[in-house]
Subunit: 132 residues, 3 copies
């Protein structure tokens, strides 16, 4: 195992946050992480969604957003920080962007680029795949 390849396909804040924490902690431990954001996961990274905190999710997501004592930064900040600390890369799914008619400019500024599934599987080779 030479790292984690995370496929982030869920739009639920709880799952996105779990993926973001796992990726960030791994990167801080100097473990290479490649995150491929696709399907409903990609919608959560849209600028408008993030600005309005318009995420899907339930009670724990609410607790995260309103918590004062426990600081859980939003996944976008967490991933941006992780990229400065360790070997973490983020890619947006080309197919879903084509479907939605979006470009990287429509998403918060954390992506290293866009990839197709074949391109991601190549980067995932030898890595532990985590489908969220």
């Amino acid at each position: 195992m030479t790292g984690y390849a995370i496929v982030l396909a869920s739009g639920e804040l709880e799952r996105i946050t779990a993926a973001s924490i796992i990726g960030s902690v791994a990167a801080a431990m100097d473990i290479p992480v490649a995150v491929f954001v696709t399907m409903d996961g990609l919608r959560a990274f849209e600028r408008e969604t993030v600005e309005n905190r318009d995420f899907d999710g339930g009670a724990i997501a609410q607790a995260m957003v309103t918590a004062e004592d426990v600081q859980v930064p939003l996944f976008t900040e967490q991933l941006a920080q992780a990229k400065e600390i360790g070997p973490l890369e983020l890619y947006a799914c080309t197919m879903v962007m084509d479907l939605l008619g979006t470009t990287l400019d429509d998403y918060v500024d954390v992506f290293d680029g866009e990839l197709g599934v074949a391109g991601f599987l190549e980067r995932a080779e030898g890595k532990e795949v985590i489908f969220v």
Copy 2:
């Protein structure tokens, strides 16, 4: 790693499609793929569900179904094609079929057979497990 072992437990069209694309692309790259369809995932393969396109899912699933430019074939067609091209096998979960009182005849004709969890874990040995 000698392939992917995909546990398809979700009934959401976005997640099923993501799993189907990953499996198909891997098979096309000559990577062995074993897909184990269980829980809500199995319901999505029922003949009636597929005929009526009666899938769970949100905005991206809708975009997929209505898209004219971007051709995303339905997961059942995609998996059928993948089986002709590369080493992809599909198994239905015996336990859930027992629970629902169904047989393989109730599902679209893409399965290589049915398996219990122990049987699937044996096939998953040495493979990268992806739980969808």
Copy 3:
């Protein structure tokens, strides 16, 4: 691969049961399993939730609860049995417990302790990670 590291982040009975069966079957095959329960998954292990069978889930979850012929024990019983038979360990997520203001006493008595994400990733090293 020296075992499975299961991240149980979903609160849906179907997914929890699938994870519990995979973990139990693996442990019975003498494969080491570490389960990390977090996010909505942790809520499903609250004493009150379990006593009232107040789980999220759909038709298959219902069938499981009401089935008379097919015996699918509740995931809590299944995991408790698995721990007696094979090398399966369960950990509750410290961060989510802090967020919810809960302690291990609030959960059914199947946990071996609590862990942070870094601690879990250390235990996951060399294991096949399954994110549910």
